[in-house]
Symmetry: C2
Subunit: 248 residues, 2 copies
DNA sequence: CGTTCTATTGACTCGATTCAAACTAAGTGG
DNA sequence: CCACTTAGTTTGAATCGAGTCAATAGAACG
């Protein structure tokens, strides 16, 4: 954890998508950040809140979710270090979903006013933020596809591929493995399937020999096959090849 | 159709979400627009294209979609007059989905360079565009919920409620009815269900007496009940109450 | 008018859910 | 260090929502 430079990982992530102007990295670097440890499953902002801070994932994982019918939970996305999950509160006064820690997480909080001020005079910063929102939207669209058209095995494989790639981009996954502090129920709620069925799919993936899966540690034994199973093509994540030059 | 002022409906739509600065309405008003009639089901931009123009829906409906497995189609959103469906191509070089006309549509095309120039010097315009992307993302998120957690009857009801409200905002739906040139297969592909099942759901909605449904003309007989059936709460669309002042 | 969409219906099948129950791992407190 | 508890995973059986296939009916259109 680079507590001294909380935006390093953010910049690394941004650089995977676009050339970040120096103006923007300076503005981001000067934002005042309060760093907090968040215990597992704690809610950071709740649906209906009017947030006063923008958060930055520094370590660990968060997830966006909404409750349906009081009891069912749909996870709409996972957030990994370098993500800024609630930038939207700059314009949308009330959050339309909740944000929670998946496992223990370290989150930076920036006062809304500071972000607003920084954005007030900089076209470049607004464009970088807008760009990020576009990527988020592209991921949501892919999840719409995932939930609308694919069966359970495909959905799970797809989510695994996405996470693996996003983690690699911020330097948190090796070529064939990563770890994530979820339980099968979390995966189930992200894929819109029951916990029991999620379990059966996980077993099937193990049986097929494409992943080793110890709940929190995942090893992709056969990435090409997993991508095929998951109907995964990375283009919707919109990474550019320039990536290497910008890794800090 | 206000061909002379193609951005009127866009401004009306924007005003439902935020106070549009005069700077922005001027910049938009000065954009060069080529108006074209698009026949039903014609593709406007295809997945993988690098678009040279940004489109504006002036009349009729468009839809975003992706093909899966070569044969299955998932519709990810419907676009109504006043929407700007492919603003993202300002930053994302390759479109990750296709855009087609649902029925006959009238679409305005603005050269990408013109939009880029207008955005280059205006923080306000960038923020308005960013804001729109945030709303789009919020709608995608709600569709993730819809497909992930709700059964077929609920999904269809929800989509109906959303369309009805969005059309009312741009003045294209009466309190209890609107029309949309789709067939049941379009609805099915938006809700991630089979055509046969979509048909059964439509019949069920008729039987319940909440809608009258003549394929293209839809009358909401009991809006409150439909919203309840569809688990629909409008907050995710982020309309503000100020709306009335800005209606042209 | 015949051709082509679109809507509708019925019978059968299947993927996924539900409801338990059993099993395992990981604490926690005595 | 063990009994007890709790969280998470695994299993099986019964059920159900939705899909598939195939046929029919109706509307729209040249």
């Amino acid at each position: 954890m680079e507590a001294g430079r909380p935006f390093n990982r953010v910049l690394r992530r941004l650089s995977a998508h676009l050339l970040v102007p120096e103006e923007v990295s300076n503005l981001l670097g000067n934002l005042p950040v309060t760093v907090k440890n968040v215990p597992p499953n704690q809610c950071i902002v709740r649906e209906g809140d009017a947030p006063t801070h923008v958060s930055v994932v520094l370590d660990g994982y968060l997830y966006r979710h909404k409750m349906v019918n009081g009891s069912q939970r749909q996870i709409m996305s996972f957030l990994v270090p370098g993500d800024m999950p609630d930038l939207q509160c700059l314009f949308l006064k009330k959050l339309d979903h909740s944000l929670s820690a998946l496992g223990p997480a370290v989150v930076g909080f920036v006062p809304l006013a500071a972000v607003r001020d920084a954005a007030q005079d900089s076209v470049a910063l607004n464009q970088v933020f807008w760009h990020q929102t576009l990527i988020d939207a592209a991921i949501f669209q892919e999840w719409v596809i995932n939930l609308g058209q694919r069966d359970a095995l495909t959905r799970v494989s797809h989510v695994l591929c996405e996470l693996h790639l996003r983690l690699k981009v911020v330097g948190l996954a090796r070529e064939d493995r990563f770890s994530i502090p979820w339980i099968q129920a979390d995966l189930a709620d992200a894929c819109g399937i029951s916990t029991v069925h999620a379990n059966r799919v996980v077993q099937e993936l193990r049986r097929l020999g494409v992943v080793e899966w110890d709940t929190k540690r995942i090893r992709i034994v056969n990435g090409a096959e997993l991508a095929k199973l998951g109907d995964f093509r990375a283009d919707y994540l919109h990474y550019v090849e320039r990536q290497a030059e910008f890794v800090s």
